[in-house]
Assembly symmetry: C2
């Protein structure tokens, strides 16, 4: 038996999120189906974390065990040949038996994209949140600076997912702007359900309501989801990178 | 009568190019249809230049005349409400009666995108030429440096379009690389039919054949399309910007 990890990408638009479920096509299902065809084994795949319906991935990591030995390059090319065009494998690694895509991860990085312009563009359709009113990257910077560190993010967690503890530690939030595109990069060990999307939606709403950036602290301290703003759309969110220790490139890889 | 200019964008994938024709949906047709619905006038639209089937535009410019007066913001919002999601208006200008989208243009800028990685990615599907072997931006830089200036580009022009003279002046070609994406930016007063795509395809082919970058001069001097390489795919090409004198922002604009 060998354990493999794959670095994968997907356009989340046509899927009902990562996790297997009764309704709708899921990304996990497509990857397991393709791997089953390629390996002729019945394979269960584990991801670094689930992504919700519509969320994209530039650097999701998954792992699984195979009885037979498949060369890493063949695994990449074979999977890409079988997978629908919205999904792809970017690299393959032969990892240790105790590597776990989810539990071995030490940091997760997500990017939220905002397209800021009065008019829509075909190139950002379902790829970024479109904001058609004035909005300042510097305001986002000021608001989110209050959220770096370890705190109880209960106000920024979907209600039905608050049962397992809502304290998290955000390592950094960076905001950059180029032309009409604003990128907000979040780094943390882990995020709560909808956390980034609620932080982004709340920031937009605060700006519209002319709130001082420090108002985010009042929302935070209330520990109440009803105090924060709307949940920004899933298609602005990209799972960008998962950091492991040792890093993935410590292992044998296809490319 | 008032003359209007629009800055427009389109994802060329589902269209049979810009120009009206008997077969397939064209971009001109969609814009004229939308403008007809909005203005209730029978309108002929002129573009800065045609783009071929599959070619994209980030900054195409078109102009037309209307009998009635339509506020510029309403023109933008109205058109975007009617146009299919692959097409959009980015800005509208009220221009002088002697402004012509094609004949007033003093410079045209196109960008060719190459995705260089052994494996495909969903995010570049029909958005860039995919090259799955080693390829160097610096090699492209060396090859294309020989093509800046005024010369006879007959070797880089589609055969059936060589009748109207094949001398052109390229003002600059810049090559930049970030992660897996190579961008080649071409600036000229005008380009021949398929010129950029043949230059890009020839450069790729020369690299594969281990040719010295200066070999492009031999091809150029032959003035023969049979000497150059393949025509790179249309979906890597973006019409990025049209420069006018006075510039478009000299006029009243919607945004």
């Amino acid at each position: 038996m060998s354990r493999y990890a794959l670095l994968v990408q997907y356009d989340g638009t046509p899927f009902n999120g990562w996790q297997l479920q009764d309704r709708g096509r899921t990304i996990q299902e497509e990857f397991e189906k393709a791997l089953g065809i390629l390996s002729r084994e019945n394979v269960r795949i584990h991801a670094s974390g689930r992504t919700d319906a519509g969320v994209h991935a530039l650097g999701q990591v998954i792992h699984f065990d195979l009885q037979k030995d498949i060369p890493l390059v063949k695994l990449c090319l074979g999977m890409n040949g079988i997978l629908p065009s919205e999904l792809s494998v970017k690299n393959a690694y032969r990892v240790n038996d105790d590597f776990h895509a989810r539990f071995s991860a030490v940091q997760r990085e997500y990017i939220y994209f905002i397209y800021k312009y009065p008019l829509r563009t075909p190139f950002m359709k379902k790829k970024a949140m479109w904001i058609n009113f004035p909005f300042e990257a510097d305001y986002i910077r000021k608001v989110t600076s209050h959220l770096v560190g370890e705190m109880d993010f209960k106000s920024f967690c979907k209600k039905i997912s608050q049962h397992n503890g809502t304290v998290r530690k955000i390592d950094s939030i960076d905001v950059t702007e180029q032309d009409e595109l604003i990128k907000i990069r979040f780094r943390a060990n882990g995020f709560l359900h909808n956390m980034i999307r609620i932080i982004v939606g709340t920031t937009v709403q605060m700006y519209r309501e002319n709130r001082d950036p420090s108002y985010i602290l009042e929302i935070l301290n209330e520990k109440n989801r009803d105090m924060s703003g709307f949940t920004a759309p899933p298609y602005g969110l990209y799972l960008n990178k998962i950091i492991y220790e040792p890093p993935l490139n410590f292992y044998e890889s296809a490319f």
